[in-house]
């Protein structure tokens, strides 16, 4: 067991180190978050709708698009210089590689999710509500489910000639529960409703993340086998 944890940890460490040194994905995703906030602000007619009414949905949509941008490139660098073969041939089981990649993607996306939240609070003049921890939890659970599916299908799409362009078609239909429960919970919490009102949403987000993680860990080896 401890070997397994160490194998997962090694992948996470390697990916995060690579990201910290190149800063490629975090830079593009961060810039995307701010610029999407700018465009969404100008796409809103404030004489027709109150910005805070639609902000929660926009936060989640920004997270989804931004996440695809970053998660879609999970295997890009490694497959370009052939390092992915080396990782796959290492004694680490395929599900450990998947979990490692998913955790490092999660760390990346969660940082971006916090940035997205901050950007929208600033641009749309939102208050965090009475339970900021619940907002952070909703974003964490949603991001976890998203990266689990995103990492699995990034491996699929990087093996096709279509590349990342096919990723939204594979992932969007499956993200319906994440958007419904995530945006629902965030909207209510930002509007100052009590946590009890969104406890069901949070549980469903958690269950969704668990199923996505389990499916990804079980099926990843069929995607990367030769």
């Amino acid at each position: 067991m401890s070997v397994y944890v160490r194998q997962v940890g090694t992948i996470v460490w390697k990916d995060l180190l690579l990201e910290l040194r190149t800063k490629e994905r975090i830079a593009t995703m961060g810039a995307f978050a701010v610029l999407a906030g700018v465009l969404f602000n100008f796409s809103t007619d404030t004489s027709l709708v109150r910005p805070q009414d639609i902000a929660a949905g926009l936060i989640w949509m920004t997270l989804v698009f931004d996440g695809l941008l970053g998660v879609g490139r999970t295997f890009h660098l490694e497959s370009e210089d052939g390092a992915l073969q080396g990782v796959l041939m290492s004694p680490a089981p395929k599900d450990a590689i998947f979990l490692g990649k998913t955790i490092s993607n999660f760390a990346l996306l969660y940082v971006v999710a916090l940035l997205v939240l901050g950007v929208f609070m600033l641009f749309f003049g939102l208050e965090i509500g009475s339970s900021p921890l619940a907002v952070l939890l909703a974003l964490a659970l949603g991001s976890l489910g998203f990266v689990a599916l995103g990492t699995l299908f990034a491996a699929v799409s990087s093996g096709t000639r279509l590349g990342e362009t096919v990723l939204p078609i594979l992932v969007f239909p499956l993200l319906v529960p994440m958007v419904i429960y995530g945006a629902g919970a965030t909207g209510r919490l930002l509007a100052g409703r009590p946590v009890a009102e969104v406890a069901g949403n949070l549980r469903m987000l958690g269950a969704f993340a668990l199923v996505a993680l389990g499916a990804g860990a079980a099926l990843f080896r069929f995607v990367v086998e030769d």
């Binding site: 699929v156 096919v166 239909p173 499956l174 419904i180 199923v211 499916a215 099926l219 069929f222």
Partner: protein, 230 residues
């Protein structure tokens, strides 16, 4: 059963299904009583739910055979998954076209986020992804594995998707056939609906077997061409 035998059975069921479809159309226009509230437009009822049922059945078979393919690696399971998935797309498309047509008359709007309509739309797109990854790999075996993964993940998450959409909103009439107190549909309407479900299922079975036989013949051709070359 041999490929030729499956092909013959496929032709039999497909012809039987097409004849049955003619009978269902005839009965739904000239025999069944007209529904009081919706009038003649309600007759689309004998096409829409059977198409929906058949597409769910087909996608279910596709997901199941996909999982078995990844497990057993028998090419025939992949042919079955592909054939069922194509059938699901066809009947899903029929459901998605007849739904809005009926919805415009019954509810006054072409599209509602009714859970079962939404479910079919999302399944349709999940399987669009299934075909896209399948056809864009350089190595066909890779495409088979990719598409199987797409079908399995889709099948695992469909309950969540459906639950969340139901939770989000529901406008649809309550189910009228399978209820604890028994069907509330008038006798002749129920008879025709169940007949139509049987006919659609038979037609799907025929098309499924024909498509499977086609895939088998392609494989045979491939094997023979390779043998001739060697």
């Amino acid at each position: 059963m041999s490929i030729a035998g499956i092909r013959r059975a496929g032709i039999f069921f497909a012809v039987l299904g097409l004849l049955g479809l003619g009978v269902v159309y005839w009965l739904s226009f000239f025999w069944v009583s007209t529904e009081a509230a919706q009038g003649i437009a309600q007759r689309i009822f004998y096409v829409h739910p059977p198409a929906a049922w058949t597409s769910f059945l087909a996608f279910g078979i596709a997901a199941l055979t996909s999982a078995m393919y990844l497990w057993l690696r028998d090419e025939r399971l992949d042919w079955a998954a592909l054939s069922a998935a194509e059938g699901g797309m066809v009947f899903g498309s029929i459901m998605l076209i007849t739904g809005p047509l009926w919805g415009k008359i019954a509810w006054g709007t072409y599209w509602t986020w009714e859970p079962r309509l939404t479910l079919t739309l999302l399944l349709w797109f999940i399987f669009l992804g299934y075909f896209m990854v399948r056809r864009t790999t350089d190595n066909p075996d890779q495409g088979k594995r990719y598409s199987a993964v797409v079908a399995i993940v889709g099948a695992l998450l469909i309950p969540f998707i459906h639950l969340s959409v139901v939770w989000f909103r529901s406008l649809h009439p309550e189910p009228v056939v399978i209820k604890p107190e028994g069907p509330t549909l008038p006798g002749d309407m129920l008879t025709l609906l169940l007949t139509s479900v049987g006919v659609f299922t038979t037609l799907f079975l025929g098309l499924f077997m024909l498509r499977y036989a086609l895939e088998g013949l392609r494989h045979e051709l491939h094997v023979r061409a390779r043998r001739a070359a060697a």
